[in-house]
C-alpha cells in the first residue's frame, strides 16, 4: 500500500473511494502510522527533555483579531532557540499560535493547515470558523498520550468569522477542551503575566494599530516576569511575530513594522519600567 503513494503506480483503491473530506480521516484509514496521535509510544520514565515554546497572546478589535507570539524556545533552564516561530497562518482567515512542545506543535500545525486546505479543495468551500476550531480540538485530544508524558501542546486559535463579521479567539486545554474567549486570551508559561497586562490595557474600541501595540506590550510584560518568554531582542533584531486577521484575510506584520512598535515600547519602558498605567477608578 505504502509504496504506491511514493512510486508512480496506479492510485490505490483508498484514494478513489468516495468518503470523508477530511485529510486526517483519509490518513487514519490509509496510513494510520503517519498520524501523530496514532504512534506507538514506548514506555517512558520521567520527563522527556525537548524544546518548549512559551507565550502566545491574542486580542480582538472591531473588524478583526491580532495573534502574536514571542520567539523563545527553552529546554529546562536553557534557551534552545531565540528565533523560533510559534504563530502560523492556518488558512486565509485564521491563524494558530502554539505553546508547549515545539516539535509536536509544529507537526500539529502542519497537519492542521493541511486538514483545512484539503477540505477546501475537496468540498470547494471552506469550513466555518467553529468547524476549524473543533478540528483543532480533535487533534489536541489525539495528543493526550504525549501530553501525559509532559509533551503537551496548547494552542491558541484566532480567526475572522466571515459569517458573523468579527474576529474570534478560541483557547484549549491539554485534553482538547475548547472555549471561546471574549476580547483577549493568552496561553503558555508567561500567559498569566500577559493576561494581567491585557486585562488592564484592553478596551472594546481598539484600532488595529492599538491592538498590535497591546499584544507586544503584553508579551513584554510576560518576558519581564517569565524567564521562558523572550522579549524583543534589539541586538539580534528578533522581534515578536504579530499577525492580523481581518475581512481582507491573514497578514503578518513585517519585521520593520513589529520592530517599530517594539522599539517605541522599549523607549517608553526605559522611563516607566512597568509600562502604561491604567486609571485606578
Amino acid at each position: 500500500m505504502e509504496a504506491n503513494t511514493r512510486s508512480t503506480g496506479r492510485l490505490p483503491a483508498a484514494f478513489l473511494t468516495p468518503g470523508s473530506s477530511s485529510f486526517m480521516d483519509f490518513l487514519s484509514e490509509h496510513q494510520p502510522e503517519m498520524l501523530p496521535g496514532k504512534r506507538q509510544l514506548p514506555p517512558i520514565q520521567g520527563v522527556i527533555e525537548a524544546p518548549h515554546g512559551t507565550t502566545i497572546v491574542a486580542v480582538t478589535f472591531p473588524g478583526g483579531v491580532v495573534l502574536a507570539g514571542d520567539r523563545r524556545a527553552t529546554m529546562g533552564n536553557m534557551i534552545a532557540q531565540r528565533d523560533i516561530e510559534k504563530v502560523f497562518p492556518a488558512d486565509e482567515y485564521s491563524a494558530v499560535g502554539i505553546a508547549g512542545t515545539a516539535g509536536l506543535a509544529v507537526e500539529m500545525v502542519k497537519l492542521f493547515q493541511l486538514e483545512l486546505e484539503h477540505f477546501e479543495k475537496v468540498e470547494g468551500t471552506t469550513l466555518s470558523l467553529e468547524g476549524k476550531a473543533n478540528r483543532l480540538s480533535t487533534m489536541i485530544r489525539s495528543n493526550l498520550g504525549m501530553a501525559m508524558q509532559g509533551l503537551a501542546v496548547v494552542p491558541l486559535f484566532a480567526g475572522f468569522d466571515v459569517d458573523r463579521d468579527k474576529g474570534r479567539i478560541f483557547s484549549y486545554d491539554v485534553t482538547g477542551g475548547r472555549s471561546e474567549e471574549q476580547g483577549y486570551a493568552s496561553t503558555g508559561s508567561g500567559s498569566i503575566f500577559a493576561r494581567g497586562a491585557m486585562k488592564k490595557l484592553y478596551r472594546e474600541d481598539l484600532t488595529e494599530e492599538q491592538a498590535t501595540t497591546l499584544v507586544i506590550q503584553a508579551l513584554y510584560d510576560a518576558a519581564d516576569d517569565d524567564s521562558a518568554t523572550g522579549g524583543p531582542d534589539v541586538a539580534r533584531r528578533i522581534y515578536p511575530i504579530v499577525t492580523v486577521i481581518t475581512e481582507d484575510g491573514f497578514r503578518r506584520l513585517t519585521d520593520g513594522e513589529s520592530s517599530d512598535i517594539a522599539r517605541a515600547i522599549l523607549e517608553r519602558r526605559l522611563e516607566q519600567p512597568d509600562g502604561p498605567r491604567a486609571a485606578l477608578l
Binding site: 503513494t5 496506479r10 492510485l11 484514494f15 478513489l16 485529510f23 493541511l114 484539503h118 479543495k121
Partner: protein
C-alpha cells in the same frame, strides 16, 4: 452450452476506445491556455457549483471533460495523492509530472482491465512555473496515454477542431484578457462551421496565476471581474496594472 465468440484484442480495445470517446464527446469542450502570467482554464459550464476546473495543489490545477462522477473521483484521488505526498516529503515535491503519471497509470489500468468499464473522461493537469518556460501542461486521454502540451490544449467532444483553431492563433505572452477572448472564440465555434454566443454566466474561468503572492496560485475568476476581463479583451485595451488591482 454455446461457445463464446472470439474477439481479437485489437477489436476489443477499439470497441472500448469508441465507447469512451463517445461518452466524452457528449460533454462540452474546454480549453487550457498559457498566457503571460500563468495558465488560464476556460469552459462552458451552466453549473455554479459543479466545477470542471479545480485546484489540486499549490501550483497545480486540474481540468476535466466527460462523465462528472468519474472525473470527480479522479480529482479527489489527485488531491489526496498530492496532499499525502506534500505531507510526507515537502510541498515542492508535489509536481504535475508526478500527478500526471499517476493519472495515466490509473486510467491505463482501468482502460485495459476487462473487469472494468473504461472511464469516459479526458483530463488536463497543468502546473504554473516561475516563468512561462517553466509551465507544464499534460493532456490525459481516456486510455491512459499522456501528452505533453505547449501553448494551448483543448479536450472534450469538439477538441480537434478547437485545437487547430487555437494552434493557429495562440501566441506566447498574451495578456489574460487576450487569452480569455481567444478561448471564448474557440469554444463558440460549432462543428458545422457556425458560431454561437456564450454568455458570461455560462462560462467557468480559473487561472493559475504565477504573480499571486500566496503559495497557492489557483484562483477562480467570477462575477464582475470576469465581465471586466471579457470587455477588456473585446476592446483590446488590456493593461496589466488593472489586472493586478482586480485581485480578490
Amino acid at each position: 452450452m454455446s461457445t463464446p465468440f472470439y474477439v481479437s484484442p485489437q477489436q476489443a480495445m477499439a470497441d472500448r476506445a469508441e465507447y469512451a470517446r463517445k461518452g466524452i464527446a457528449r460533454g462540452r469542450s474546454l480549453v487550457v491556455l498559457q498566457y503571460a502570467d500563468g495558465i488560464v482554464f476556460v469552459g462552458e459550464n451552466p453549473s455554479r457549483a459543479l466545477h470542471k476546473f479545480s485546484e489540486i495543489y499549490d501550483r497545480i490545477g486540474f481540468a476535466a471533460a466527460g462523465k462528472y462522477n468519474e472525473y470527480e473521483n479522479l480529482r479527489i484521488g489527485g488531491v489526496r495523492y498530492a496532499d499525502l505526498r506534500g505531507y510526507t516529503y515537502d510541498r515542492d515535491d508535489v509536481t504535475a509530472r508526478g500527478l500526471a503519471n499517476v493519472y495515466a497509470q490509473t486510467l491505463g489500468t482501468i482502460f485495459s482491465s476487462a473487469a472494468e468499464k473504461p472511464y469516459e473522461v479526458e483530463l488536463v493537469v497543468a502546473e504554473v512555473g516561475e516563468t512561462p518556460e517553466g509551465d507544464q501542461i499534460y493532456r490525459l486521454p481516456h486510455d491512459g496515454s499522456i501528452v505533453d502540451e505547449h501553448g494551448s490544449v483543448a479536450v472534450g467532444g469538439n477538441a480537434e477542431q478547437i485545437s487547430s483553431y487555437l494552434d493557429q492563433r495562440h501566441q506566447d505572452g498574451m495578456s489574460l484578457a487576450e487569452a480569455l477572448k481567444l478561448a471564448v472564440q474557440s469554444l463558440s465555434r460549432e462543428p458545422n462551421g457556425g458560431e454561437r454566443e456564450i454568455p458570461a454566466e455560462r462560462l467557468e474561468v480559473a487561472v493559475l496565476d504565477r504573480t499571486r503572492p500566496q503559495q497557492r496560485k489557483f484562483r477562480r475568476i467570477v462575477g464582475r471581474q470576469l465581465g471586466r476581463l471579457l470587455e477588456e479583451g473585446g476592446a483590446e485595451t488590456a493593461t496589466e496594472a488593472e489586472d493586478a488591482e482586480d485581485e480578490e
